[in-house]
């Protein structure tokens, strides 16, 4: 860019394309001053967020296209060779092989999909159910609020692992959807509570009174004026919970009530490897490493999002 003269009385902003910018905003401030625009500006500059997003991107690609990472199909029984059981790390088997001679790297890669699906689906269901119920209860108050709040207290009283064990025992089958359902049934009250509290705070703001005074209907106030102001905290908790749901799925699969063979799950792999741990530690360590990294990535993402959306919480 050639040196252009900044008009006298000068704007401090660096002129773009040789023309001074209109308005009084500082050059460094984000272009979009909305809550989300501001948060995005803030997030991109956070190493925590960048690191977490990178990890999550890799994991999601792994979940959607596992064949990009490995040519071995672990669902094909012919890919395993019993004679090769518990081999160490080698060029042929990067992470070694398990008790049945299956390639651990391929199984770990293919295990990402179930973890991500359970985590995402549970998060979406709890956010929808808990979020909507919380919105209605917080907005309407009264008997509906009392009833829903008492119901959630009952759920809080149930130890979640015990509850999930019980629900899955009733289903008798363990797959992605039953695990999701068991986790969602037990955890929606948390989202409900957070949403309800945020809605009650937003409801008493002057802009809601002003919207009413200018003729907005109850639905409009609820979804246009209250929801956008209350949803930030739900998004943060949902992101952090996503990591916990993935860990919970692994835990339930480990206990034998979650996903079951021939489904591939990191929890299942850990469980299978535990008895021969001293002989073949890699069979346990690699799925455990992936599991930890995934959970960590989502918790870090949630933390970064929370900091960006609400600087006061820092």
């Amino acid at each position: 860019m050639s040196d252009t003269l900044v008009p006298a009385g000068g704007k401090t902003g660096r002129p773009k394309h040789g023309k001074p910018r209109r308005g009084t905003r500082r050059a460094k401030a984000p272009k979009d001053a909305s809550l989300w625009g501001d948060a995005w500006y803030d997030l991109r500059r956070r190493p925590l967020f960048v690191g977490a997003s990178f990890l999550i991107t890799v994991l999601v690609v792994m979940a959607v296209f596992p064949s990009l990472f490995t040519s071995v199909n672990p669902f094909d029984a012919r890919s395993c060779e019993l004679a090769d059981a518990r081999l160490g790390m080698s060029e042929a088997h990067w992470f070694g092989t398990d008790n049945l001679g299956c390639d651990i790297y391929a199984r770990t890669v293919h295990g990402a999909r179930n973890s991500i699906v359970v985590g995402l689906a549970t998060t979406v269901v709890t956010a929808l159910v808990g979020g909507l119920l919380g919105l209605f209860a917080g907005f309407r108050g009264g008997a509906l609020d009392t009833l829903l709040s008492r119901i959630t207290e009952i759920f809080f009283a149930i130890p979640s692992i015990l509850g999930a064990l019980l629900i899955l025992a009733v289903f008798r089958t363990g797959n992605v959807w039953t695990v999701m359902l068991a986790l969602a049934v037990l955890t929606w009250p948390m989202t409900y509570r957070i949403m309800r509290a945020a809605v009650i705070t937003a409801k008493n703001q002057d802009y809601v009174l002003a919207a009413r005074a200018l003729g907005a209907s109850a639905w409009r106030i609820m979804f246009r004026h209250i929801l956008p102001n209350a949803i930030a905290s739900v998004i943060v908790v949902a992101t952090i919970n996503l990591g916990y749901f993935i860990a919970a799925e692994a835990g339930l699969s480990f206990l034998g009530v979650g996903l079951r063979s021939p489904d591939i799950s990191w929890g299942l792999m850990i469980s299978d490897a535990r008895e021969r741990f001293l002989e073949a530690p890699w069979a346990l360590l690699f799925p455990a490493l992936f599991l930890s990294l995934t959970v960590l990535a989502f918790i870090m993402l949630g933390d970064a999002v929370r900091d960006a959306l609400d600087p006061k919480l820092r």
Binding site: R22, G23, S34, Q205, D206, A213, L214, G215, A216
Partner: protein, 345 residues
């Protein structure tokens, strides 16, 4: 009231001889754990098109509650209206179903608030919020709504409206925010605008500009303006008449110059005396003794008697009615003649 003849929405045209807005013997109470708080006890006032009524009183006098009752935005429970009528061109708003009241709000009667920053939604641009009035009530497209928003921002004299229509409330100064709030409230050409302490949160020079703007808008559109304030200085130039409230009642009701020249109620007199004046520099500022009444435990007789320098025995026993003092004024004081003459106090 006959079911068949009950109109659902106030008429568009003024019926003969009806003032624009009449508040008639309005009572509002709040049911709390400590008991029933009687916030408004028989308030009556009226407003004609193009007229400015200032409602004056300190915190807890019931001035804002009356306004919120007119708008129908009191939370009930805890609030309830056991008695009274609010007539908009002859139609009792309190008898309308909620759906019809929603149609009155914003279109026929609009309201602006003290703190414009908290009265604007922080997550939407000001253009969105002004334009929303047209989108909700008139079904305008997004593009038309933005165009209208710019026109309105021009009308309330926000500089560079076209550039600033996509800015967020926090990017504006206090005075500009109040202008945006005003733009939203006049978007649908309401016939009544209620301004609840519109300048209290602003500094003095901006106060004057906002009052001037409200005055101009009122003249242009012939709307009735109800100005709620605790600041006598603010209303002097703008208001036509004043209703002074104390303890949930109107204690004095008069044209603005009558009040300033010769108040007929000791409370009004006290308020006037407590305005700082340049020619009294250095002297101690007058203050009304005592505290505003506790609405849960109102004094017997006249609510003002514990603080009143004109008090006599009858004030403690009997609540004064609103005495007619002249053709255009009334005062709720047993001894208004003495107050008017300024013989004591």
């Amino acid at each position: 009231m006959k079911r068949t003849s009950a109109p659902t929405v106030p008429p568009e045209e003024a019926p003969d001889g009806e003032p624009l807005l009449v508040v008639d013997d309005l009572h509002v109470e709040f049911v709390t754990r400590q008991g029933v708080v009687k916030a408004v006890n028989g308030v009556s006032y009226s407003l004609n098109p193009g007229e400015t009524l200032a409602v004056l009183g300190e915190s807890g006098s019931g001035k804002s509650v009356t306004a919120q009752a007119i708008m129908g935005i009191l939370d009930s429970p805890p609030a309830r209206v056991p008695r009274g009528e609010i007539r908009f061109w002859g139609t009792n708003l309190l008898a309308l179903p909620e759906e019809a009241r929603t149609r009155v709000r914003g279109r026929r009667i609009a309201m602006i608030f003290q703190d414009a920053l908290s009265a604007l939604n922080p997550v939407f641009t000001v253009g969105d919020q002004i334009g929303e009035m047209f989108r909700v009530h008139r079904g305008a497209s997004r593009r038309d709504a933005t165009k209208k928003a710019i026109e309105l921002m021009d009308r309330v004299r926000i500089p560079a409206a076209r550039q600033r229509v996509h800015d967020y409330p926090h990017q504006f100064s206090g005075g500009m925010r109040q202008r945006i709030m005003i733009a939203m409230s006049i978007a649908l050409d309401p016939q009544v605008l209620i301004a609840d302490e519109p300048t209290t949160a602003l500094d003095v020079t901006v106060q004057a500009q906002i009052m001037e703007l409200l005055g101009e808008l009122r003249r242009e559109s012939e709307m009735g303006l109800i100005l709620i304030t605790h600041d006598l200085g603010v209303v002097a130039d703008v208001a036509d008449k004043i209703a002074v409230m104390y303890g949930g009642r109107i204690v004095e009701n008069a044209l603005v110059h009558d009040i300033y020249r010769r108040p007929a109620h000791p409370y009004t007199k006290g308020l006037l005396a407590s305005i700082p004046r340049v020619d009294q520099k250095g002297r101690e500022l007058y203050a009304i003794k005592g505290m505003p009444p506790n609405l849960l435990d109102m004094p017997t007789g006249c609510a003002f008697h514990p603080r009143c320098s004109y008090r006599q025995d009858d004030c403690v026993v009997e609540a004064p009615p609103l005495y007619e003092i002249g053709p255009t004024r009334a005062g709720a004081c047993h001894h208004w003649r003495e107050v008017l003459d300024g013989s004591r106090g």
